[in-house]
């Protein structure tokens, strides 16, 4: 198995390390002690471009359910709400990314992680599965982008 898989977003090669799993809302997750660490996938980061503002609407220690709204992000191109990718307790938010959101652009799979959850993640995907998911969702994402841009 290669170290990473690549998905072409137009001419941009989005890279997905094979050492972790991915969620339906475009985050990666990896084990961090007994908790799971989450960050944005290269696909999400490419859609957003430069991230300037990151804000969490829950505090560390909060119990969340998958799909709960937990924060928001603003970038050079877009705004978006962020949703919990798993059920459980958010044990940590990455203070470095909060203080300087460009860390997410610089090192999204490393220092630019977002938060850690102690709990259960359902519906996560192997990298290859995630790539197939991107293939089906890419058309819809483009339609959403073009539809809004045309407004």
């Amino acid at each position: 198995m290669p170290d990473e898989l690549v998905f072409m977003m137009g001419n941009f090669a989005a890279r997905f390390p094979a050492d972790r799993r991915y969620t339906l809302n475009h985050m990666w997750l990896g084990a961090q002690g007994t908790a799971m660490r989450f960050g944005l996938s290269a696909y999400a980061i490419r859609l957003l471009r430069e991230i300037y503002f990151l804000e969490w609407s829950v505090d560390a220690g909060a119990t969340v359910r998958q799909k709960d709204e937990i924060g928001a992000v603003e970038s050079s191109k877009a705004v978006a709400a962020l949703y919990a990718p798993a059920d459980g307790t958010i044990t940590h938010f990455n203070a470095e990314a909060l203080a300087d959101p460009s860390t997410v652009n610089k090192d999204g799979y490393g220092a630019g992680w977002l938060f850690e959850i102690n709990g259960n993640a359902n519906d996560t995907m192997e990298p290859a599965q995630y790539l197939r998911y991107l293939e089906t969702s890419w058309t819809r994402a483009q339609a959403l982008l073009k539809g809004q841009a045309a407004q």
Partner: protein, 299 residues
Amino acid sequence: MKMLTVIISKSPGQDPRKHELEESILAALVREPDVVVEVMPHLYDLGETDGALAALRSVTGPLAVLAWLYSRAIHWTLDRMGVKGQCGETQLHRADLENEKARGNASAPDAPSRTIWSLNLRDGDDPSMHIAELQRILCDLRATTSGTVPTTSAIPKSEIRNQKSEISLHRWYPVIDFGRCNNCMECIDFCLFGVYGVDDAARIVVENPDNCKPGCPACSRVCPENAILFPMHRTPAIAGAPGAGPDARKLDLSELFGAPAAAQLAADERNMALARTDKEAKPKDDLDKLMDALDDAKL
């Protein structure tokens, strides 16, 4: 002779283009002899103990505030801070202001006669556009105050220096547009967190802003007059945008990140905030457990 105080309220984020725009406007204004110009942290995040807020309140003359918020949000955020005045006309949004005036409600009923111009820095990347607008305002002021003594005094520097660090805490609370509010009390009935109260004149007020649940804009959705603003909400209509048109400058990608396909209902948002609050509540004591056991017992 200073005729106008200009406040540049900085962006809460780290967008270099925003900081560049702030700097360019500042550089142009410091050369303007009739203007006192000051830079402050993000207006909406200012707390009661911020030196910048005391400085703002000390300005009694004509005031122009440039911030990364919709004009209506700037005006009513200032109003709730006790910085009141008549809504100044701007060329950039003349039609919107006239619409509000047609409803008879551009300013609060108790606002003093001095004018406050609220300018949205998101209206354009070009500093010259904002500078030209400020110069137009100055021209109008010179024309109307000729022969009289200008009313603006310098802000004490110590007040500004006393401000919090650059990365201050981000706040979240509703701002009431008292030009629109008809005191119907839907919001106080709907909110479960004690954010709202009434003043001595039985008028609705945001009594406990910090009881508000970050991210929850539900009361704004139930307000029949669209008089409740959450200036930092991503939905332009809730953040105080003129009309209900989307912010053409940025896309909303929430759907890609897992937003429900249907529009979120106000009750869902409120209940989610409530559920969070319950989880934060202290564990039940023994008496509660006994009561629960009694409730569950099949008698």
